[in-house]
Symmetry: C2
Subunit: 475 residues, 2 copies
Amino acid sequence: MSAPFVVVGGDAAGLSAASKCRRTDPDRDVVVFEKGQWISYAHCGTPYFVKGQVDRLEDLLSLSPAAVAERGIDLRRGHEVVGVDTDSQTVSVRADGETFEQPYNDLLIATGARAVDDPIEGSSLDRVFTLHGLDHAAAIRAFLTPPEEFAVADLGGGDALAADVVERYGAMSPPERVAVVGAGYVGVEMAEAFDAWDVDVHLFQRSERPVPGFGDAVGDAVIAALDDAGVTTHLGEEVVRLRGGAGAVDTVVCDSGSTLDVDAVLVGIGIRPNVALIEDTPIERGGSGAIATDAFGRTSVDDVYAAGDVAEMPHTVTGEATWDPLGLPANRAGRAIGATVAGDPQPVGSVAGTAMVKAFDLECGRTGILDHDRARAAGFDPVSETITAGSRSGYYPDAAETTVTLVADRATGRLLGGSIAGTDRAAVRIDTVATALGGELTVGELERQDLGYAPPFSPVWDPVLVAAKVLNGSL
Amino acid sequence: MSAPFVVVGGDAAGLSAASKCRRTDPDRDVVVFEKGQWISYAHCGTPYFVKGQVDRLEDLLSLSPAAVAERGIDLRRGHEVVGVDTDSQTVSVRADGETFEQPYNDLLIATGARAVDDPIEGSSLDRVFTLHGLDHAAAIRAFLTPPEEFAVADLGGGDALAADVVERYGAMSPPERVAVVGAGYVGVEMAEAFDAWDVDVHLFQRSERPVPGFGDAVGDAVIAALDDAGVTTHLGEEVVRLRGGAGAVDTVVCDSGSTLDVDAVLVGIGIRPNVALIEDTPIERGGSGAIATDAFGRTSVDDVYAAGDVAEMPHTVTGEATWDPLGLPANRAGRAIGATVAGDPQPVGSVAGTAMVKAFDLECGRTGILDHDRARAAGFDPVSETITAGSRSGYYPDAAETTVTLVADRATGRLLGGSIAGTDRAAVRIDTVATALGGELTVGELERQDLGYAPPFSPVWDPVLVAAKVLNGSL
């Protein structure tokens, strides 16, 4: 009798793999070990839960434990895999204080990412939050809710919720001023979430612009959106220390020496691949520190796969291994590995780093390589252009200015990346650029793509095409 | 001294060519002959002018005659080219009752399309309209406006407007019931325009669904949108005759024998390439009846180009010559020909038939080959799937059901076409499919495209990716 397909981690990659494996081969035994209580939750939805737009924690779960069981998957929550022996093909699992050995036939490591430990001096003070996991999100929303309106049952989540911590924050007076440290997409989305509770929001970013991965033009548009919304931005300011009294944070200290009194801090700087499990194994890590994988998600060790936020994937543009922890590639790689393990080999695809972020009314997107230094390091000679064009025919009401940046290689004309910002259907337009990257189009070819045109939705020349025309003209 | 670049037709293709030629070679003489008074107008915007969302006729002009002159283009309105002599390289031009010969060095035929003459018996009755040109649009809006509120000056358009006709309609009582004959995209958009004036709208379509070029699934979604809006659809009913008394239409007669009393009729069935000018020339027409062209927009005769609604272009998927009169390909081909004529040869690209249409709150898009018979005729073995998926993460408010159809070739997996309908950012998502066609992706490759994900804009698996997954699974 063969050993099961063992999956370590019950989130996007792990449960996609487990589900696809069972669908492809219903006779295959699949065991999923999840160290926590939450499974398959939508990390990207947590800011909207804090904001109150998403009502209950269970709304963020794409699969309930019962639904997983119905798929014939043996899901074990509260089970932490603490060791891997790739020679004997077993993992060591700890649960309820006991440890046992579990043989595997195929193994998927999908342990995800974790917030950086103590990213700033003082991070362990009370009322300092990260946003890693639903318990954090619940605690923040509890804190924001006036005590007289708070009821832990309103948050949902059932017995998976760490209710004691949440109730402690629910009893506190809501913060009047919050500092958000780090203006990546989580920071920007959390600024919007805090603002919805009428909190005075201060957003700190070490670089000169927010969402640096989205490029300068999007960064400028986000600054304007934050200003319009009344968020105070502190750009080019690095928070070096959090200070507090009675155990709770009360002051943010910047490298310039300036300080700000606050009632709470959200730290949104940095996650790392959760690779502790493989440290004493022959499973190799790539240059990013995440687990190295091949086109089918296989690691350097036979029958061991890795996917999701713990693994590298090939980059769509450069082909080089990259660590871009994002939701779709995790789901896609998990699903492909599930099929492969079940006997229907499927490639995991590549990652272009395509991402979208909402900053109040502003929609932003990015894909591929925007950074010129990174493009040069990959052997390209990058040229970029930024344009602003209407989202609709100029005569149609409510056409919105849409800013597009495209980057191409001067020698070959190949498109390398792009970004977009605007208030009218801007974010989804990045998918056109992402698909052009996937098709390895030149910017001249992108200029000639036969995109749609209708006055309410797009001008004759979509802003992406306008950018392609201008960039192609300057190559 | 060389003769000028002569352009016949002052609309999208013609003026794009003239402008690009002058920008590329400012010393080049460019003459544009336009038989009418209107130039460079947005045909696709006319329903929204009728509706009243676009205020004035001049809002629909992307270029004024003055702006054309500023570009150094010799624009002659009211000049009809009535003959072409390709041996002597001259055109015969009629203006103010006189005819003169104009030599050319390069010639672009951009005479566009015209409404089918007398498409239905009784089409020449009064209060029967097509929507071909701004004078028609102005007449319809004048008719819809209550006489006590009507002023011809409110429509704009200056001396280009045929004011006498418009004033006659402005003096009439507005129609209470209108029949729209033909539910292509103009018919659907005009139904919305009439509805905005509280007219009882009846939409007739010979086939079982509106917008047949968009496929069955979009057709069904449009039917639901029209029903919700209170438009009465008469599907599977062919209008065979319009009857009237005192010269004005009062009855629509269907092939079934059923009749409907109406106060006005909008006929939106069919346009033809305006090829009269080349009938006695060696310039060849393709199988569609439009002018045959090569990859650079050249006709069968040296130094003669054709572009826009009068010309064929290669199809993105089949490579075969096709007649797909749409705005972007006209602009793109004109622009490329202008560059080519000025000494910087640029290909005109291909046409995928990408189109978008708005049906009240519903956004629709289509691209490539949806029709299985057409796919088979091009040598493919078509397989299609239709799915419905959310436009956003399910937990995020106002996620909208989005219906996607994709078609692929069974043998190769190559994507052949797609369509989409939904109320939340649906139309622009067709550009992802169009770009996948341009990149000659298989449906498996489309499934692995790294599209964006953010709860407010797109679920982890964008509806287009969901459709690709399902179709790829059934190949």
